[in-house]
Subunit: 286 residues, 3 copies
């Protein structure tokens, strides 16, 4: 069940820095059920950022593993029939053990199998949903989605669908775009935070968004242990990924050197640098 154990923090940047420190100290175990294209980079991002990845997909193992994991990622990109069974078992286990799980509805809207899956799981209390604008719009039932992983909708156009998804699931919803937007409309007052960070080359390396979904599960785990809200956890994950992108962009010659520098920065940026490079804006949601 999502928690909001403290009021909106006075200093969002300080909360980001605090959560980065906690992530690196506690190295949360993130159980990833993700698509086969991005498993390696997802694991590398979690390791670089300070978390511990484990990809376990077989239905004979996912329930047991989700029970001991700190957080779970369900990414519906390119699933197999057997992995889908494993996802059902992992989600059930995560709920049973109150483990936060993140839904990444890759390419939902355009393809019926994954659209049906992701839509069905909205009733299973994901702690967070992370997606691009087209996917959020499609998941909320308000549009047809993009052409695969591309987003053809703007972040702003996904604002109302995101609010609706948050209210419906009781979880936080994050929209990735030029500026990322994190929205929580649960029991307390609505919270909305814009994150300005990153670099256009993040779109030229496969799996950067998928890895963000995985890291979000890790931040949710440490935030809950520390009594920090899910909303702040999701913001911290975006800030960490985005700030490293900003830093990498200053030295990259193209997507190859960008990916390398991004992994280096995920690992080496100090908490205070991350909080500084990712500019947060608290949106007025009245």
């Amino acid at each position: 069940m999502p928690e909001a154990t403290e009021p909106s923090p006075a200093d969002p940047a300080a909360t980001v820095a605090r959560l980065v420190t906690l992530l690196r100290e506690s190295s949360p175990l993130v159980h990833c059920l993700t698509n086969s294209v991005v498993r390696e980079i997802t694991a590398d991002v979690l390791l670089a950022a300070g978390a511990a990845p484990a990809m376990v997909d077989h239905p004979a193992e996912t329930g047991d593993f989700a029970a001991i994991a700190s957080g779970v990622l369900i990414n519906v990109g390119n699933p197999t029939s057997e992995q889908i069974e494993g996802m059902h078992a992992a989600i059930a286990s995560a709920r049973e053990h109150s483990t936060p799980w993140v839904l990444d509805p890759v390419a939902v809207g355009g393809l019926t199998l994954r659209t049906d899956l992701a839509t069905g799981w909205l009733d299973h209390s994901p702690a967070a949903i992370r997606a691009n604008a087209s996917e959020i719009v499609a998941l909320a039932g308000a549009g047809a989605g993009g052409r695969g992983v591309d987003s053809t909708a703007t972040v702003s156009s996904a604002l109302l669908p995101a609010l609706e998804l948050s209210a419906r699931t009781g979880g936080t919803v994050a929209i990735s775009g030029d500026r990322d937007l994190v929205i929580t409309q649960t029991d307390g007052p609505t919270r909305a935070t814009w994150i300005d960070s990153g670099h256009p080359l993040l779109q030229k390396v496969i799996g950067t968004g998928c890895a963000l979904g995985a890291l979000t599960a890790g931040y949710l785990a440490v935030a809950r242990s520390a009594g920090v809200s899910d909303h702040d956890a999701v913001v911290a994950a975006h800030a960490h990924i985005g700030a490293a992108g900003t830093a990498a962009g200053t030295v990259a010659m193209g997507p190859g050197s960008f990916a390398m520098a991004w992994l280096d920065a995920l690992y080496s940026l100090e908490p205070g640098q991350i909080a500084e490079l990712a500019v947060l804006t608290i949106a007025d949601t009245e």
Copy 2:
């Protein structure tokens, strides 16, 4: 159905440059059904070069997705039973929607499952076949293939088998080697183009050939939209991959730095530089 909508161009290098520009402007969506070893690098190469990748393998989704894709890649390396079902559906859908599809017969010859699959698909009008010499020889029924992805045959020895495959499928056939050779023997006059480019370290990074197959599907899509022949599209894909290899080779210290520089070059080389770094020779096919 393969097209040859214009005569052999007067200036092959100018055609390469034009197609590179078109690829980057239109960012064709390439539906990849490829082996699990190279999905990430294949996606990264497509993104760096200017195309949009999507890996969709489940048989419940491949028909629908191939219908909206610009081009389709079928790579038979390390398939699963479920993916094979997905491949059948994707090929049928590609043909129905006149979407160009590329066959990459990885390790055909040595292994019966994939040899039977690839051989059967020769009757399904692939727009292009891309392989090393051993695989071309084996696919044409003229030899036993190499030991996996290695080629033990020379490009020259695969010339006649390639002509035969082109005539039989009505598509273009590309043989990767120290010098690449692209052959088209369909309705018009036979065309054969040698491409001199690349670097030995391309053989020391997994997936460079597989990614070339995927990029070929992207170039076929943009060429057909522009009324350029399939033959020129396949040549352009090889020139783009190879020229980036040549550029990367000048700075690499080994396969790790080569892979990074290669992705950077795929992204940053200007169309004119690509056309210059990849030396084309029109072979006399009389």
Copy 3:
């Protein structure tokens, strides 16, 4: 069947250098049945080091392919049902053809499916087992394992379980840790070799240990052809991987640049440099 065709060499470093040379000259074909997270980096490591990788998992192909491979890797991380069938066939074929095969019991202990598989295969004569200390302890039935790929046990604590596994399987056992330990307790005198090399960033790049398992299969193949013991082959694999890690650590800024430099070093370090960078200590096993 494991062999010990020569006595413990007088100069272990010279044996390492000799085996590195042989690996690069003969480029052994390593058939890898490994987890989907690390297939690309495993292939890249084999290529960089000088071996030839091939990932073949389908049960219709694994028996035939293991028959022509020089060595086989069975890595139980994140298996699928179909791949497990393929593993059974590959192991049977490897034994039938006296091809050395390596068992990597990823996360055994915590998860019953893979624990049952790996335990059952102890009776199928793996030439080597490569794992972290927690996995060795769990595989020997002496503990519960770590939380996934992490090791929570020390290398020293795994010494007796490793001796037991070696005696039981008739193969060599390698424990990865801050210092690696290779143990062989078969027909002749017990051998134990410590390898001091590597860098902490090896733990921050996914698949470095899994790739070591694959490279071990390649070294076993060349060692047997040259009449060198399996023990020395496993030591050489660890020395090659570790020395490249040491070299990469001198230039890395984080895990991204480390991975790149590590691949470069696997490729470019001279045999003598590898033998020098990896410090070997023959343990007293009386």
